[in-house]
Each structure stands twice: as C-alpha cells, then as structure tokens.
C-alpha cells in the first residue's frame, strides 16, 4: 500500500520554487507562461521576455527591487487585467486608458444635465432629460443590480422616447450583472458571445469557443424596446466592455462615444512563494461574431465622438449632446 501511495503521489507532481528572487521570478514567469491567454493575440514573445528580465534578477536584490522588475515584465503584456499584488504595492498597467482622452466628467453631467436631481437604486442613477430621453448612469458592474431595481427604473422612464445608458469609465465588475441588464433589451434567446479557456499549459492549448446565450427577462418584468444609446469611453472596460459587445448587435441600440478599453480576458488568480498574488487574463470572451474584443470595441459607425474639453467648460458634454440629438432625430432607428 505504501509503495502504491508513494508511486501515485510521485505521478502527481507539483512544481516548486524557492522563496528567493530567482525562485519567485521563475514562478511568476511560469504561471503566466502556462495560463495567460493572449500571448499570440498580442504578439508577445514570452521566452524572450524571460531572458530580458531574468538578467535583472540577482540574489541580493530587495523585495521592492524584485517587485518592480516583475511588474515591468508583466507590463509587457499591456493588459489591464494583469496585476502583481504585494503588501506594499499593486502593479497595474495604466496605459490602456491613460494614453487616451477620458471623455467623461461626472460633475459635468450631474450639474448641467441632471441639476443634481436624480434617483438612485441598485448602483443605477437615473433621470428624465428635458428632451424626454431617459438617462441611466451605471458606474460599475461591481454594483449588483436587482430585477426589482430595473423594474422601478424602467417603469419610471416608461414614457420616454429613448434611453441613454452611460457606462463611460465603468471599469467592469460582475459578469452576471451584464446578463441581468441585457435581458431587459432582448425579446428572444440571443447569442451573447463565446468563451474559450486554456486546456493545458501550451500557448495554443485552447478549448473550442463555447457559445453562450441570454434569455429575455422573466415574464412580468418591464422590458425596453425603444431606441437605446450606450455611451462609452476608453475607461469602459472588462464586464462593461462585454456589455457593449452584446448590446452593439441588438436592434435599435447604438454605441456612442469612443472605443472601449477592452479587457475581454476573464482573470485568474495565483500566487508566488513569497506570498505575492498575481492576477492575469486566463479565459478569452469573444463577441457574438466570434471576434475578440480585448483591444476594445469601436462605436457604431458615425457615432465616434470625444468630449470637447472647451465645450465642457461651458457645461456641454458633447458625447451626451450627440446621443440626445441622435436619438431624438430618429437616426438611431436602423
């Protein structure tokens, strides 16, 4: 029995690394090498990246020095879902949004469009604009949205001619909130997209993309069938990006603003021998055409708009203005 036990456990080997700069660096590189899902899509030569940064590791370096070498290595992935987490810092690749205009000012909308007078429930702020267009601001998909919340919001906005859903700078959150929201805008079972995961440690080991569908909200719930504009910015990321990837293909829905930030890789967590956490994209979520949205989703053709900083000083949100004009002019009805 003992021989059998030792043999069986020997077959089930677990890689181990020393808790020193070299061991932690190798652990980090290997975890990403075996689990990260966008090497090919991003054209990253991970072996070359290893050689580039391994030469910067030495046994006497401090934890902080090691952290910043490792963080620089992760930045090569140009991925907003990839972080190294220690007790003194969390690395974060910021250029996916910092190199772009912000295109959103919360104060601008609240002061000049809502007059600081709006309703809030379940993470949703909502009001009726003077042009009889409903406005819903969803700041984070991390805020849970209940079916009852949505019933109340849509009932309140029922008399409006159109609806604006503002998810600029919405950095994502829980994917199940995407489903809860989308279900109010579809009338039949709808192909939402595909999901593909790693099936092994090789860079090309992926499962066949699995098609997933959303069903309309349960009978009795309040639905929305009038024109919709979804306002986006580069800060529209992760679950918010996924929401856009689904809404974009629904009838009477327009995407207005700027290209989203992407972030279509669902993140996994792991850890290093020294206790640092690491988070990285592990499962690729594709849109309903089977296309990756990791690099962002473009607005509906003709609806690419930036927020004009000069106009903002005069109290104008040029993206929101465009959306109101677009919806009230009838241009949104395809």
């Amino acid at each position: 029995m003992t021989v059998i036990a030792v043999t069986a456990c020997g077959c089930h080997k677990v890689d181990e690394w020393d808790n020193n700069p070299q061991g932690n660096f190798e652990a980090l590189w290997t975890i990403l090498d075996e689990h990260y899902c966008f090497f090919e899509e991003k054209g990253v030569d991970w072996d070359a990246t290893h050689d580039k940064y391994a030469s910067k590791i030495n046994p006497k370096m401090t934890q902080r020095e090691l952290f910043f070498v490792c963080a620089d290595m992760l930045d090569e992935l140009k991925d907003g879902h990839t972080n190294l987490i220690s007790s003194f810092n969390t690395s974060y690749y910021r250029k996916w949004w910092s190199d772009y205009p912000e295109n959103y000012s919360e104060r601008l909308v609240e002061q000049y469009y809502l007059n600081f007078n709006y309703l809030s429930t379940g993470g949703l702020d909502y009001a009726i604009l003077p042009q009889n267009v409903g406005y819903v601001r969803y700041g984070s998909f991390a805020n849970p949205v209940g079916e009852g919340n949505l019933d109340n919001v849509l009932f309140y906005l029922e008399s409006c001619d159109a609806l604006i859903i503002d998810i600029r700078n919405n950095g994502g959150g829980n994917m199940t909130n995407v489903e809860t929201l989308v279900r109010r805008f579809i009338t039949d079972r709808t192909l939402a997209g595909y999901i593909s995961h790693k099936t092994g440690p090789g860079h090309d080991d992926f499962s066949k993309p699995y098609a997933y569908y959303f069903d309309p909200a349960d009978k009795g719930r309040i639905m929305w069938g009038k024109p919709v504009a979804v306002l986006t910015s580069r800060g529209t990321f992760s679950a918010a990006n996924n929401f856009v990837s689904i809404m974009k293909y629904l009838p009477r829905v327009s995407i207005i603003g700027s290209t989203t930030g992407g972030g279509s890789g669902m993140p996994f967590n792991s850890e290093l021998p020294n206790g640092w956490g690491v988070r990285f994209s592990a499962c690729s979520v594709l849109d309903c055409k089977g296309v990756s949205t990791e690099f962002g989703i473009d607005p509906t053709p003709g609806c690419e708009v930036d927020l004009d900083p000069q106009a903002a000083l005069d109290g104008h949100d040029t993206i929101l203005d465009f959306a109101v004009d677009y919806l009230t002019s009838g241009a949104s009805v395809r």
Binding site: I4, A8, V14, Y210, M266, P267, N269, G275, R279
Partner: protein
C-alpha cells in the same frame, strides 16, 4: 470472553423487561447481531495543494467528526460484516509565508461489506469492498474568479480491517486497523483554465472523469484502540487520509493526519414483542 458475557447479560436483562410479550418459537430465533457503532472526533495536521487555486503548498490544522456503524450481515453473520461510515472534515491552512488562508470542507459517506477470517490468537482479518461519495471544496479567499476547487467523487473501494483482542492491565482492548483505497469511480474537475462562470453559462462538458490510481489516488488509514469500560468503550486512535489527483493538468493533494478520540459500543436492538432465546448466539462485527 468477558465482553461477550456482558453483552449477553444486557440482552437477557432486556428480555426480562419484556416479560409480558407473547412467546415465540425459540427455534425460529436468529443469531443476535449487535451493532458496533463509534462516534469519533479527530484533530491534527493538514497539507493542501490545488494547482487550480495556487501552486503553493499550504499547511495547517485538520479537525472533524466521524461516525462508524458495523454489523454482522444477516445472510451469513459469521463471515460477512457490513460497515457504514460518514464523516465531515475541515482544514484551515496557511501558505508558507502566512499571508493567505485556504480552507477545505469535505464530507463523505460510504457503505461496504467485508468477508472475515478468524485467525488464531484472537486475530480477525477482513477484506471486501465499499462504495462511497465524497463532496466538498477547497476555498482560497484571495482568488477572484477561481476561489473554489470543488471535490466531488463517487468511488468503489477496496477495504478491510484487522482486529486483535487483548488486555491492558485488567481493561479489555480491541485494536483495529482499517484501510480503505478507492480503485475506480468518477470524479469532478473543471478543465485546466476553465472558470466556474463558464460552467454557470451552461458548458458542462468534460467535468466528469474516470477515477483510477493514475488520476485519483486516495488512502484512508484508521488505527484505533477501543478500551472497554462496561458496555461502552473509549476509542483512541490515529487517522491518516491521503488524497492525490491529477486530471486536466490540475494536481490536487490533501493529506491529513490526526489523533482520534471517541466513544464506541456494541448495541442490540431487540423487539419487546419477541422473546429472545437465552441461548441465542451473539455475533459481533469485530470478532
């Protein structure tokens, strides 16, 4: 044996209490098959690793509760013994640098039959099979989308026991060693990088895997000493449980080793309407 005598006395006293019951044909009496049951608490150490959650090995404490019920079987009580077990175990572990926790909660139920041989010097050896279900999970709270590794398995096991009746001073003692090793079955595992969100979306393919020693190895060893004090016994012992699986390039290992303290006893269930033959044979599950 003194213990057997005690059990007989217990049976006789119960018969006396049911003196008003109608008489039955003594020839129809079957052997009395007392139930050997034990309630055990265990506490000790645990080592966990699950590469779906983390490649780092965690270690900590194990504590749990187990119930065991054994009884000679009706169709051939001298040879065949039934055993039912149920247990719940919890592990609380930390990574080597002690800045993260990992929990494991697992329960299992099994039922089996063993064939026994009575050897000289009061030694009994039994071997047979059992089948059981294990359900539980490991939970690593620091992980966002992959915080849980579910453990679910149905297995067919090789099992057995060996007992030896002896005395320590004037106290009768039953020593028992009881190993159980699954040989085949089915167990659950997500794919290498598959998130539970994908399973939630409806992709249930490839979650069930055939268990054999190359993919699923488990060995549960229970060594106990029952110190008999009257009709009940104090059970002291040691338990080690090794689980090692590898499927879809995910390796799981859970090793626990713990001290066991419990209460054991042999109990008879008698029908008050039925008179028991004072000469009826009493066939224990253990000896």
């Amino acid at each position: 044996m003194r213990l057997l005598l005690r059990i007989r006395l217990l049976a006789i006293s119960l018969i006396a209490m049911s003196a008003m019951a109608p008489a039955v044909d003594a020839a129809a009496e079957e052997p009395v098959r007392p139930v050997t049951s034990a309630y055990m608490f265990n506490i000790g150490g645990a080592k966990l690793v699950n590469t779906y959650l983390t490649p780092i090995k965690y270690s900590g404490i194990d504590f749990g509760f187990a119930y065991e019920r054994m009884q000679a079987m009706k169709f051939d009580p001298d040879r065949w013994v039934m055993r039912l077990t149920a247990s719940v175990d919890m592990n609380k572990t930390e990574n080597p640098v002690r800045n993260a926790d990992m929990w494991r909660l697992v329960g299992d139920v099994s039922w089996g039959m063993t064939y026994r041989w009575r050897l000289p010097f009061g030694i009994v050896v039994a071997a047979g099979g059992s089948t059981g279900i294990d359900l539980g999970c490991m939970y690593n709270p620091r992980n966002g989308n992959n915080p849980v590794a579910v453990e679910a398995a149905w297995t067919v096991n090789a099992t057995g026991y060996a007992t030896w009746q002896t005395k320590v001073g004037r106290i009768p003692v039953t020593l028992k060693y009881q190993p159980t090793v699954p040989v085949a079955g089915v167990f659950f595992s997500p794919d290498y990088g598959e998130l539970f969100y994908e399973i939630y979306l409806g992709n249930h393919s490839g979650l069930a895997h055939f268990a054999w020693w190359g993919s699923y190895f488990r060995m549960d060893n229970l060594l106990t000493a029952d110190l008999h004090f009257g009709a009940t016994a104090l059970r002291l012992g040691f338990r080690s449980d090794l689980l090692s699986t590898k499927v879809n390039n995910i390796v799981t290992r859970a090793v626990t080793y713990s001290a066991v303290v419990g209460v054991a006893g042999e109990w008879m269930s008698l029908n008050p309407k039925k008179r028991l033959d004072p000469k009826a044979r009493i066939i224990s599950a253990l000896y």
